[in-house]
Amino acid sequence: MDILNAFVALANFVIVPALAYGSQLALGALGVTLIYAILRFSNFAHGDTMAWGTMCAVLATWGLQAAGIGLGPLPTALLAIPVGIAGAAVLVLATDRVVYRFYREQKAKPVILVIVSMGIMFVYNGLTRFVIGPDDQNFADGERFLISARDFKALTGLDEGLAIKTTQALTVVVALITVALLFWFLNRTRTGKSMRAYSDNEDLALLSGINPERVVTVTWLIVAALATIAGVLYGLDKSFKPFTYFQLLLPIFAAAIVGGIGNPLGAIAGGFVIAFSEVGITYAWKKFLTYFLPESMAPDGLVQLLSTDYKFAVSFVILVIVLLFRPTGLFKGQTI
Amino acid sequence: MIRVENLHRHFGGFRAVDGASLEIAKGSITGLVGPNGAGKTTLFNVVAGALAPTSGRVLMDGEDISGLPPHELFHKGLLRTFQIAHEFSSMSCRENLMMVPGSQSGESLWNAIFGRGRIAEEEAMLLKKADEVLDFLTISHLKDEKAGNLSGGQKKLLELGRTMMVDAKIVFLDEVGAGVNRTLLNTIGDAILRLNQERGYTFCMIEHDMDFIGRLCDPVIVMAEGKVLAEGTVDEIKANEAVIEAYLGTGLKNKEMIGG
């Protein structure tokens, strides 16, 4: 029984949250990785793209809620995702036309695009706040829990509860479906293969009759979709606030790189590595050990490796260590 | 001069160099040939320090140099050129040459700022030398041109020129001839011969053009599948059945089709 309690506590405070957070990071990292692989630069504006897409979805959600349309136990925002994706797509495609395409045609080196994307980041930053303001926005509805801690305790009679939120489950499921779809798309469909070809060798793609502008457009569309899905799921689980989305950029980059930037599977793995290292390393094992060990050996202290102040630092240390041993990330080799 | 003993270099499970042993005599121009993927470039990379050997040893004048980084090998007099030209593209041809000599006192930051006088003297000498080399290579009209703007063959000449800025003991040339116009290649060949005869450089060169090899090299070493397949003079090699089968071939089969 105590052992069960120990593991339920661990699952409740480490495994479930880290899985959900990892999936959120992974969805973000997928977008970053795709741009890196196909458009060849690290997109600093990705966090703000997520914010913009989510904002569109939030506005649409409010509209739906006002019209009384809902999904029952599931959040209404799911219905609004297409609107968000459309909004994000319009924004990124317009940006591409006005800004990125110029540099592509000039054969600008990728690092110029990195700096350009910083400029875009500033602009998106202002745009999002201009429309919806800088505040926290609540747009979640539907059933909050798949199973709440209280219900779990009542159900099992254990001392420890296990809570699984609808949004958490949703995030994990969506992340897995998305990466599977993306994988299928890139490896099995003609368009997907043409994207990989473009990423591999731009000029030869041209010589094979692949229209590069079409590849770029499709990439941005997918990125807009990924960014919006990631942003909406994150916003449902936590809350929507433009500034937080900018802050998400760092762990997202870390996830993409630790997994092997340019590789979709790596993005997923990287997301989980970062999430588990943030949540796991700073976990105080006291409760777990108290259940796990005989009473006489129960710990006095918290049995915490590092205080949570350093959780972000820890994930970066892990990142550097991973890179020391696997210089191209967990999933090395081919990009995309 | 250089002795390679039972050298292995693996990539994952793949054995690019698989127990090669060979020797390069002082003062020789040794040719290294072999089918594509035989491991020639990999062998070069290991000898020149760009790759660590998986096992085996490389000796230079009896001293074990395996695993030393390239810049240390340079100071021991071992130079190499690259299969694909590695010029410093945003620097002028002159600068490309002037940067070569090691242990310039101006390369220390302290001297660079506080020892301007001594540096000026050194620089004058380097400049003179660089101009001589450019003359020798018949590209002195390009001395202020950015190296990135040179044509493929000129870049290869520049690579060769770098080896002349210092007193190299042994120079490794990786396919100087590939994609180079044959007339230019003859010039390069002349330059190599002169360096060998006048300055006593030892050369080891990878090449697929058997005419070029024939003009310059003795002996020739043939590699295949990471191992040494044969060794001898050009004529011996050309007559070797195994080499013909793996590498040289017997000429066009469709000769009768020529001319429609």
Binding site: F41, D200, E202, L204, I210 | P35, H208, L252
Partner: protein, 274 residues
């Protein structure tokens, strides 16, 4: 140089940028249309002048052409603009003047993709495969524009280059130099081109593979596909050529049949190495 304008500063940091596979072609902007221009050779790039981006002109009124069923070979010193001329014919370069005509149509304004659709196949000098895709996917990409069933064409390519059949599941980047060249030629054949352009297909390959490639090229040419080819192994190439061009500094220096050029002492001394 044009590349310099937007150059990075030698940065190789893989967490920031991904230089792999970046192109350096300056393709004709899409949107142009072809128009009829009857007569003349099957494929001709006539009086072409142009360069990369905003850089200086590399080609100065250069003309190259190939007739049905022929092999035309271009030779010349390094940096003469041979590859540039090939790219110009394929529309990967903005021409400042001159025209490109294919099969009785003026295609100067067409984008490279559209030229592929009109039956042109091209194997560039460098970076002519998709390294991280398998051999089979490389071939599929060759057939990207085809809507019909291309399995029999793939079968033909495999028959032509049997080694590729064995390596079909392997990433093309893992092949040796000669095998890569075969993949590259195979990929171009997959479009079922009406004309094939090859840029130094034999550079850096061993003698045995070189002979093999020349054999295959002859075979392809004899099936009726005209071939336009740049070669530094000029003597072998000119031997099989119906027509030869010598390019110098972006312009035509000598033109003639392969045999003529081989026999010209001036050409031999200056360009073929004596």
């Amino acid at each position: 140089m044009s590349g310099e304008t937007y150059g990075d500063r030698g940065n190789k940091d893989r967490s920031i940028t991904n230089p792999a596979g970046m192109g350096d072609a300056w393709p004709v902007k899409p949107g142009g249309a072809a128009h009829a221009a009857p007569g003349g050779p099957f494929l001709i790039g006539e009086a072409m002048t142009g360069g990369y981006g905003k850089g200086a002109d590399i080609l100065h009124g250069c003309t190259i052409a190939v007739e049905r069923g022929e092999i035309a070979v271009i030779v010349g010193p390094n940096g003469a603009g041979k590859s540039t001329a090939m790219k110009a014919v394929f529309g990967m370069l903005d021409l400042r003047s001159g025209s490109v005509r294919l099969d009785g149509e003026d295609i100067t304004a067409l984008s490279p993709q559209d030229r592929v659709r009109r039956g042109m196949g091209f194997v560039p000098q460098v970076r002519n495969i998709f390294p991280s895709m398998t051999v089979e996917e490389n071939l599929e990409m060759g057939a990207f524009i085809r809507k019909d069933d291309f399995r029999d064409t793939m079968e033909q390519v495999y028959t032509l280059f049997p080694i590729l059949r064995d390596k079909r599941r392997q990433a093309a980047g893992e092949l040796s130099g000669g095998q890569r060249q075969q993949v590259a030629v195979g990929r171009a054949l997959m479009t079922r081109p009406k004309v094939l352009m090859l840029d130094e297909p034999t550079a850096g390959v061993s003698p045995i593979v070189m002979d093999e490639l020349f054999d295959r090229i002859l075979e392809v040419a004899r099936t009726g596909i005209p071939i336009l080819m740049v070669e530094q192994n000029a003597r072998q190439a000119l031997e099989i050529a119906d027509k030869g061009y010598v390019l110098v500094q972006g312009g035509n220096a000598f033109t003639g049949t392969g045999k003529d050029l081989l026999a010209d002492p001036e050409v031999r001394r200056s360009f073929l190495g004596g």
